[in-house]
């Protein structure tokens, strides 16, 4: 691709943020972002560079997660809705705040497709680009996002309720 340097400047932060939110690990996210730009270097020009970058990053993340899940399966914390193939093991409670921990768990509880759609939308991709990145139809993105958001909010509130021992008014 032409002028990957410019792409780097323009999109790197967003890519790293997106990957960090997906993976819960910034170092990992940076590695994958690196890899994404390396691929851009080797790839021909595209019309929609941002969408392309996020698509590649998404695929890299998926592959990396699957690989890691296979390796760490025995360490994985199970939950009621274990979707083992597509989830990263919940990170230990390192998060700096309970909000972040609850957000992490709530996000991890989503289906992979819903989670990715939401994170891509948070990076400003339009429905068309999200659909392309995830291999879905454009018409289904609205529903996907609605479901993702609704479940995320519900899950988050459930987590925070738990943390406060159920004393929080719902």
């Amino acid at each position: 691709m032409r002028d990957v340097e410019r792409l780097f400047r323009t999109h790197r932060d967003a890519l790293v943020r997106y990957l960090t939110r997906r993976l819960g690990d910034r170092d990992w996210a940076e590695e994958l972002a690196q890899e994404t730009f390396l691929r851009a270097l080797r790839h021909g020009d595209v019309t929609n560079e941002k969408a392309w970058l996020f698509t590649v990053a998404t695929n890299l993340a998926r592959d990396a997660v699957r690989q890691q899940v296979r390796r760490r399966r025995h360490l994985q914390l199970l939950s009621d809705e274990a979707r083992a193939a597509e989830r990263v093991a919940p990170v230990p409670d390192i998060e700096r705040s309970e909000d972040a921990a609850a957000a992490r768990r709530a996000l991890d509880a989503l289906e992979e497709r819903d989670r990715l759609a939401l994170l891509l939308r948070e990076e400003g991709l339009n429905y068309e680009d999200i659909a392309a990145a995830l291999g879905l139809s454009v018409g289904s993105i609205g529903t996907t996002l609605f479901r993702a958001r609704k479940r995320l909010v519900a899950g988050y509130e459930a987590m925070t309720r738990e943390k406060t021992g159920g004393h929080q008014a719902s």
């Binding site: 960090t20 940076e30 230990p92 998060e95 972040a100 429905y127 529903t143 609605f146 995320l152």
Partner: protein, 330 residues
């Protein structure tokens, strides 16, 4: 689309402006007379906003969370991620500068080099200083003028384990320099800190792009700081009358207009000791009369960094963050 009561997916698409134009129009018309769907739109907006907030809350998490071998320390929430970002980056930056392989050209559009042309160029000079004292187990630096830096916003310590220790890839800068800084003859020590912005990069220096928003506090008088701080020599081997911490390394960055910010790296105290709770903390005899300081600890807990300059703490923090965002160089 069911024009009477569109499904929630369509409502979402409408709220986000993602419907084809004709559908957008007919939805708008529908909403003029359907309170149920108006409520659905309001609910959708609520979900969109709430979900966005929740996703944003994830960004409080520091890097290198997994796999962790020890629980992180409780630190003030909001700043933590920024601090953690800087830690490894600063460590790595110093490491790379020491390896004299960091050549980021400022402002040029050389192909294959990553740079930030929008940012004014900065010249960094590295002074590699071998600690003259038993820095290994002394407390990190404190200066007389740290009050502002410690006013709540500075340097919450971030402690966390990393998979790879010294060579962990830092944010924004990628390299695998596991080697310690080479025995490169350090550039002449202590040039005037109101430095020459135009000095060309050469081996051993790093030219980095940083944007400081031009808010140079103005008159930072040339701080002549010598890195070697000879202390009053003990009168005899039996009595040490004073101790002084000297930095392991100092990086100076020209922020333009003769303003300099300085990044000092110190060896930290024992890994699990809070940096400020060191016994008999030695005092660093450097003065930063006109400067604030922003201090942090690297994730491994082995290094303390102090970034000082004539900027408000928040800007120093931002600078520290930008230091971490120097583009990739292999």
């Amino acid at each position: 689309m069911d024009i009477r009561h569109p499904d929630p997916g369509t409502i979402h698409a409408y709220v986000e402006g993602q419907l084809p134009f004709a559908e957008q129009q007919s939805m708008a018309a529908h909403l003029e007379s359907c309170t149920r769907c108006v409520a659905a739109v309001a609910e959708a907006r609520g979900f969109i906003a709430a979900a966005s907030r929740i996703v944003g809350a994830l960004d409080d998490v520091p890097a290198g969370v997994a796999p962790a071998r020890e629980p992180g320390r409780a630190t003030p929430g909001r700043r933590a991620w920024r601090v953690s970002r800087v830690t490894a980056a600063a460590a790595a930056l110093l490491l790379v500068a020491g390896v004299s392989s960091l050549m980021i050209r400022a402002g040029d559009e050389e192909p294959g080099r990553s740079a930030s042309p929008e940012r004014p160029s900065m010249v960094a000079e590295e002074l590699v200083h071998q600690p003259a004292r038993s820095a290994a187990d002394a407390a990190p630096a404190r200066t007389a003028a740290t009050t502002v830096a410690e006013a709540g916003t500075a340097a919450p310590e971030v402690r966390r384990e990393r998979r790879a220790e010294a060579a962990s890839p830092p944010e924004g800068i990628r390299f695998q320099a596991a080697a310690p800084p080479p025995a490169v003859a350090p550039p002449p020590a202590a040039p005037p800190p109101a430095a020459q912005p135009a000095s060309p990069p050469h081996a051993g220096t790093a030219v980095a792009d940083l944007s400081v928003a031009g808010r140079a506090g103005g008159e930072v008088a040339a701080r002549t700081r010598s890195t070697a701080q000879p202390t009053a020599a003990p009168a005899s081997a039996l009595s040490l009358r004073s101790a002084e911490r000297v930095p392991l390394r100092i990086m100076r960055y020209d922020a333009g207009n003769g303003v300099v910010v300085e990044l000092r790296e110190y060896v930290a105290a024992l890994r699990d000791a809070a940096p400020r709770a060191a016994p008999a903390a030695p005092v660093v005899a450097t003065e930063q009369a006109l400067a604030n300081q922003y201090r942090w600890t690297d994730p491994a807990g082995t290094r303390v960094y102090v970034l000082s300059g004539p900027f408000p703490i928040a800007e120093l923090e931002e600078l520290a963050r930008r230091l971490a965002e120097l583009p990739v160089v292999r």
